[in-house]
């Protein structure tokens, strides 16, 4: 336990520092609360709605996925410490384990568990070129690059990933 004693001492000092700061602030700071001052901050507008009670489910999904990876890390650390003693058996075991986790990870991504934000709409490829002929010498500004509304053509998000090959 002697090794952890200084950490405990630092903990005490840090908590004391925070508590004393709050005490000092209580003594020094003015106190003049008004109803408007205590209202939630909405850039000067009177808040009309309660803060949201529900959240996009993706945030929960991320939290759950994190647990999967955190547990994987928990198993990887002991192997990283003792890989020399475990030898080939340890390597194969950890490979199998990682492959299983990775496989479910790929499945989740393919099911769209980690899709955020809008899909990238590809406008460049579908640019309609308005030819300048004798009939239409007027070039409409702002229509270039717009796809027709009758048949929206969208391409998949061309991910910036080069994937794990690096």
């Amino acid at each position: 336990m002697a090794q952890y004693l200084p950490i405990f001492a630092l903990l005490v000092v840090a908590v004391l520092f925070a508590a004393l700061s709050f005490a000092a602030s209580k003594l020094l700071a003015p106190r003049n609360p008004t109803e408007e001052k205590l209202a939630p901050y909405e850039c000067g507008i009177i808040p009309g709605r309660e803060p949201p009670q529900r959240f996009p489910v993706r945030f929960y999904l991320v939290a759950m996925l994190f647990i999967v990876f955190d547990i994987e890390i928990v198993f990887l650390y002991p192997w990283a410490m003792t890989y020399g003693d475990l030898g080939l058996f340890g390597l194969l075991a950890i490979l199998l384990f990682s492959a299983l986790v990775f496989e479910s990870f790929v499945y989740l991504i393919s099911k769209g568990a980690l899709d955020w934000g809008p899909l990238q709409v590809n406008r460049r490829q579908q640019a309609t070129v308005v030819a300048r002929t004798a009939e239409s010498t007027i070039r409409k500004v702002g229509t270039e690059g717009r796809y027709s509304e009758a048949e929206p053509v969208v391409t998949a998000a061309s991910s910036t990933l080069e994937t794990g090959a690096a």
């Binding site: 803060p51 939290a63 890989y83 579908q126 994937t163």
Partner: protein, 425 residues
């Protein structure tokens, strides 16, 4: 039966612990103060401004002046907030920031034959760190996770829209990047063979300049760690947590006076600590490069400080130059790039090490085994990358299909549309 708590603790240990804690506390505060000044000054110069230059020499005391000012400001606890949690959150943010510093060796003589410790007049042997615990890395991970609680509870207890959104974002971001952080850390543990920070520094010191973990682990974990560390700190370009244009001030919108100062202090203390952790894990900490040891333990401090300054400047440089990421880009970068890469790299590194130890034994020589491992891992990584790419494309197509949109146009589609247009005229 001896008491577990007091086992092997002498009066000298307690005194030493107290002294160390106070010194570490002062170093933390002064370093944070100077870091705020440094950041403001460097960002100013990069933006062609002068920055703080009135308070004290070169404006050095600006942070102190700001801190004192905050003591005299009214402390507002919003009427809709959860009072207890609202008051608890700054503690949860600040205390872990202090504690992380405990595991960093900031000085010491790591020249050959020395392990960075000194013998005090009282006969105690100690290193230049608050506590040289055997599980230092795990302690760092634990503390960085605890810090997230502060942010999350601060936003949740404010009873307001922007802080809540900011804190949910912050939590999702921090846990996403924590996985990448932990995986790249595993590579360091693998090559150093220890969880103790001073042990990691010593393992690097033995190899000299090329013994640095940055080189030994093959650069990839180093870069992953820098990106994940910056995201973990919620610093630009990953500062969506307090994206001013969208969320006002993020999770600490409702905080004022000294409570706000606590979050601010914790943020900058974490920046300094993260820089120090990178130096310790990847750059050899207080050990000298090219065998340039001098002045015993003080030389170690000079080396440590020089390396630390490099990374602190890097963090500030990031802030001044890089635009903020979009939230989906942030999540994609963390989950679909950094995590697979760092996992794959760790396994390849492990495979090579096992082959070097001669534990595979497929071929006569270990070198042949290493080459075999490299070939196999290249194949496996290619398969993994293909699978991941397929999964990403598949999910995008499913989303398109669910909206009744045409999926990715093929080359034929494009060619057809061009000919149609040509024919029209």
């Amino acid at each position: 039966m001896t008491n577990f708590l007091s086992d092997g603790v002498s009066a000298g240990d307690i005194v030493l612990a107290g002294i160390k804690a106070v010194i570490a506390f002062v170093i933390c505060l002064v370093a944070t103060m100077l870091m705020v000044w440094f950041e403001r000054k460097v960002v100013s110069r990069l933006q062609n401004r002068i920055g703080p230059n009135v308070t004290g020499p070169f404006g050095l005391l600006q942070t102190l002046a700001d801190g004192i000012k905050l003591f005299f400001k009214e402390d507002i606890i919003p009427s809709r907030s959860d009072r207890f949690v609202f008051q608890l959150a700054p503690y949860l943010s600040l205390v872990p920031a202090f504690l992380t510093f405990a595991i960093i060796p900031i000085a010491g003589d790591f020249s050959p034959g020395n392990d960075g410790t000194v013998t005090l007049p009282g006969g105690q042997v100690t290193g230049f760190q608050v506590a040289d615990v055997p599980a230092g890395i795990l302690f760092f991970l634990a503390m960085s996770s605890l810090g997230i609680y502060g942010i999350m509870l601060a936003g949740w207890s404010s009873g307001s829209k922007y802080p809540l959104l900011g804190s949910v974002r912050a939590t999702a971001q921090a846990i996403s990047y924590e996985a990448a952080l932990g995986l790249s850390l595993a590579s360091v543990i693998l090559v150093s063979g220890t969880l103790s920070t001073s042990g990691i520094v010593q393992a690097q010191a033995e190899g000299g300049f090329f013994g640095m973990n940055m080189i030994v682990t093959g650069f990839v974990p180093f870069f992953v760690f820098i990106v994940a560390g910056t995201a973990e700190l919620n610093r630009p370009p990953f500062d969506l947590v307090e994206a001013e244009q969208e969320l006002v001030g993020g999770f600490h919108t409702e905080y004022s006076s000294i409570r706000f100062a606590m979050f601010f202090l914790a943020e900058f203390m974490n920046t300094v600590t993260m820089g120090a952790i990178i130096v310790t894990l990847f750059m050899g900490g207080p050990s000298a490069w090219f065998g340039l040891y001098f002045l015993g333990w003080f030389g170690g401090f000079v080396w440590f400080f020089a390396k630390l300054l490099l990374f602190l400047f890097m963090f500030v440089w990031f802030r001044a130059t890089l635009p903020r990421l979009r939230y989906d880009q942030l999540m994609d970068l963390g989950w679909k790039l950094l995590i697979p890469i760092s996992l794959g790299w760790l396994l390849v590194l492990g495979g090579i090490r096992v082959a070097q130890n001669g534990d595979i034994g497929l071929f006569e020589s270990n070198t042949a085994d290493v080459i075999f491992v490299l070939a196999v891992s290249l194949a496996i990584m290619a398969i993994g990358a293909t699978l991941l790419q397929k999964a990403i494309t598949n999910s995008a197509q499913e989303r398109l299909a669910s909206r009744g949109l045409r999926s990715v146009p093929t080359q034929q589609d494009l060619a057809a549309s061009t000919t149609e247009q040509d024919g029209g005229h």
